[in-house]
Symmetry: D2
Subunit: 381 residues, 4 copies
């Protein structure tokens, strides 16, 4: 069991190392009849892709996805969707110095401690390159959710000590993709970019955080207790590389609130249903969605690969050595982390939609049990 699987009914399985031959992901449990082509996946991969700007690694990966199965004539068939993304710009040679001299705060030591060996090129399996698989799978999840009216959006709300002011959902939709930092507040985005550049110039890196929001999630998602919506979001978000904190609703600040301050009274909504007056609960009560927006934050620590000189030891020679990580690395993670967080949110939510019977597990459009091949051109014309 090596942690390459996510999801109960919408099942993702991944493989691949940073500087290996290819990355790959198999998605099982996608209902038949979803319109899907490589472009749907590619669009999301391009958002995560390295080399987008000055503040991302210069590694030149096209990240071109190839769908190997599960799609026919532009529609999913209900069977596993195999996808492969080849690694084109692997340059593992520069990692040789670290084979037996672990980089500070990387996975080098722990992988070797666990497995007795590791793929050492660029972090191998521990590299964030793995998230290309997550984004590919998440793109499919997002298409299904979109068809069900569930929308997901994230943006970078803090880099170092620069905090963005609160933004609206509309601002997130409008501004996030406009700038290379993926902060929905344009002026703050500029400050963030400048600050990142400063750290980069110093051969250093910086931490930051991502705010996320989900709209349109129906009431009733989440299995009580161990599989509560918050627990499963917790797992999904903490799996994002470099994440050190997950919060939803009032998050860490909830510790300072009294019950009467935090509790959300009920009123009747426009549709005559009970509706919380406020949303301090973050869209989840008793582990189950209320139908209000689900929102929260994820903190990502600074990239550990920095050109600045650090100290390490070589366990083979027994000597203390300098660690200077010269590779091509991001000076900050949240900008490229935004599509990763969105992907993990989508994978978590589509799974709960399936588990809660909101999506037919066999096919997108309706009644299970009819035989037919005619709703899309499955035979050559």
């Amino acid at each position: 069991m090596n942690g390459n699987r996510f999801g109960r009914l919408f099942q993702v399985t991944t493989f691949g190392e940073s500087h290996g031959e290819a990355m790959g992901v198999t998605v099982s449990g996608c209902p038949a009849g979803l319109e899907l082509d490589e472009e749907d996946i590619q669009r999301e991969l391009d958002r995560r892709k390295p080399g987008q700007s000055m503040i991302t690694t210069s590694r030149g990966e096209p990240d071109a996805v190839s769908i190997k199965s599960g799609v026919q004539d532009g529609y999913t068939t209900g069977t596993p969707i195999g996808m492969v993304i080849e690694n084109k710009d692997a340059q593992s040679g520069k990692y040789e110095p670290f084979i037996t001299a672990p980089r500070p705060s990387h996975g080098d030591f722990t992988y070797s401690a666990k497995f007795g060996t590791r793929n050492w090129g660029g972090g191998g399996r521990s590299s964030a390159r793995e998230t290309v698989n997550w984004v590919a799978a998440g793109a499919i999840a997002q298409k299904i959710l979109a068809a069900e009216g569930v929308e997901i959006k994230a943006h970078v709300n803090q880099i170092g000590d620069i905090e963005a002011p609160e933004v609206t959902w509309e601002e997130m939709l409008e501004h996030t993709e406009e700038n290379e930092v993926r902060c929905a507040h344009p002026e703050t985005a500029e400050q963030m970019r400048d600050r990142i550049n400063e750290y980069q110039q110093e051969g250093d890196s910086i931490g930051g955080s991502i705010y996320f929001e989900v709209r349109g999630a129906p009431r009733g998602l989440g299995a009580p207790r161990f599989d509560s919506l918050s627990a499963r979001l917790g797992q999904a978000m903490m799996a994002v590389p470099a994440t050190t904190a997950f919060e939803f609703g009032l998050g860490r600040e909830a510790r300072r609130y009294t019950g009467s301050e935090r509790n959300d009274d009920w009123e009747f909504g426009e549709d005559g249903d009970p509706k919380p007056v406020e949303n301090d609960h973050g869209g989840i009560q008793g582990g189950i969605s209320t139908g209000e927006p689900i929102y929260g934050e994820v903190t990502l620590h600074a990239p550990t690969s920095i050109p600045k000189k650090q100290k390490t030891v070589d366990w083979e020679t027994g000597e203390e050595v300098e660690a200077q990580v010269i590779g091509r690395h991001d000076p900050v993670l949240p900008p490229r982390g935004v599509p990763v967080v969105e992907a993990m949110l989508a994978l978590t939510l589509v799974d709960f939609m399936l588990l809660g019977g909101r999506i037919n597990p066999d096919r997108m459009d309706g009644q299970v049990g009819e035989y037919r091949t005619d709703y899309h051109p499955s035979k050559p014309e």
Copy 2:
């Protein structure tokens, strides 16, 4: 699938409602040969028990555990351990007003929205009473871990705006259980208790947080990526009722640190092995344990059940009504949350110990494959 299962190899399955007949938990995957009796379980249950002090609910539950299977002559047999804890002081009558008028920020509405019905007595299945099962199972996990040299300790480090100063591991061991707040810093504990009393007097409640630490966890625990140690701790901690934030290592603050500040250099430890100079990484690198202490924080929001008057609506009558929750409730959660957090840590870690081959899944003491019944008195003498 209703979220009553935890663990991959050390498998916990629970049942029970707050004011139902009994709570119950089945533990599978406990190796044979662990010395275990009801007293081992009871000791932990007593720490979580209601009615311990002024700042806990006055519900009078003895929480007496009965082991129904899996233990013989004082030792586990390797087969499922069934435990039942009867509910003795159920008083569901006082919850009648809320059957169709959901209490603010409770699970009342979401359970009804999901299932079309709910056990409405005292929150039913959504009640934190469920955690009695977790603590019972966690007590077994902790016994196994103790045998392997893994120690777990938690204490309350913040209530409302009162923050405890940083304490040492030894202070946690010494002082936590001395006071009813379970804060390892005695003076702060007193302030916390007074503040809690104030809120209680006002008919209100207050949030807080728990700091936890794990010592002795071996290097190499955690499956890379989706099942990283941090991801699975994230799920475990976010499943704790009322949790709104999970952090490990520098947690939320990591966003303000540069790479050079946060990265932990390597030196040689006393045993000649590489050892991080500091522990800003919180004991986990690349999702896998480094052998350093694992530490973090969990934020619990204020109890939602408060005597203070709140507003709600009755979906049956269509009227706005007042919600005043008079039952017997805790004014603050972290003090009783400490054993719950410890239990969930133990369950998560023992699972990784089994998954990583550190504990023989079949028996506690050594070589699998020998037949014998003689290492403990399994036949009458």
Copy 3:
């Protein structure tokens, strides 16, 4: 992981030993709104109960089930259903001679070899007493299936060399429960009973088989490949104690058929849909149900506990000893195995109904997402 769990969405978890304090089973994933009381469970337990007739063990167990959670005012609430069945007539003393001298072809040796110990009273965890849990869980599954028009029936079609002629579905429904052998062919049942008595008199036991049939299973059940309907039925049936063969459709005889003989042509059925002209395929094609009856056979070897003298060795004394199993044992398994086979069929099928979206996982009657408590009297009147 000790094999006490069954089902992916309809999840069964068991505990208990033959001569322990109690048996117990937790059912998760049962939708809310199913009318259910202890009598529904008890009815099935009584069919499996020991002491029913001359050809079953004389152990005097009332097998009275107590539902501890998950049911309210006569309806399921969607949360876990905990059930406990106390052991009343345990007499483990007579098993002392076998503690270190394994009974031939029992689980005595293998349990000790695996766990280094075992609960030795009456087979402990390896006893078929465990199946009381399966029948209790299966009773719930069968109620759900009945509401969906899926019917399950099994009968004993062979004991030793006495084979019953083929019977109709109607004969199975009418005659199976009329006689103590549970053979739907009354004359054969008498012969079987006599033959069983002969073996019993000789201090011996005899093998036999159970034929099963499922009617009304909709088309489209079964996940392709590893989780095909036939693969999961295979697991379920082979888990039944003493089973040595599982067959469906033509079963073992299929090896003698040509493709043209076995293939079932298609015609149009009364409803205008394609329908197989025959059912040599046993209701499953490509691992997925065709809508035709699913049928097959399970072979159960002779009970291993026999009064006849056998040879064994004592691994403590190093001596060869006689094994004479005097307890209260069944001379033949299929008669009491019928409800067990039906239960495992029901558990397998209800799981596939949930996985295939045929049953709403959250509630029995319709649309998920409405909040209400009013469709059954959930508040005192």
Copy 4:
């Protein structure tokens, strides 16, 4: 969830359709340090490959495997092993007539009934081509088992009415691969081949069976009850395409045996341990391995694709039509099924070895927890 996963700790995930772009399989949970190259996989794939002889389909697939990850410098790294096998000789055009006119006893109808569509080229996902993935994964499992002294062998013991006499383990090892039928009894193999040719000439196909045996499996494998060794073998074997019966030990014949006949007395073995005098129990007692050879039989029905004319209906036109399956098909399945059965046995057993702590889940050779990269040349020299 669409049934493309097998194994609890040794996890296999597959994708691919018969005439799609590629087949693929990801193996997770393989310990680090296993010597492995593509040739290890290829050897097994070649045994399963089409076009081997007159009695296999003439489809010209090289079945060349490409390992994409998880192996470095000739050794596994403990991380997921991704493998891709491209389809080279796809000719889906000839399946057009069957798009809406299901072939008798194929998966055509059921896949369409379930998913509302299907990949219709050559059976798509329902094709036995999928087993190329199983054999690739099984090759890895077999290498691990071989290192642990567990050997697996299968041969064809019946085709139609031609039964092979019982053969020894040594005969299986020596003769099975000598002939195209993979029957370990050379004279019978010739008769089988001739009989197959007769059916083939008539445009028909024929059923058959495979006998398997496992030697060297340690005592104590198998989790009691639902996950007994026999139950999991049942699932694995029934998942093999076209399987209609699974038997172990005396199998179906056990119904005719008395307890005293079938029970295996205990004596002391050469090593002083208890040992069954005979092996009528098939190597499994109480669901757990005894250390004796595990043996059994699998029945595979005749291939459903036959040139002989059959009747079907077109659900689009509403007309009765003739089904004549002209593609390139095997006239009999067991010869190519032998490596598939061996693969599924290996996957099942390696999983139980891991679950039972017999193999270190992190690395092949010993103590977990040491960091090192030196036991194989992981850096360029």
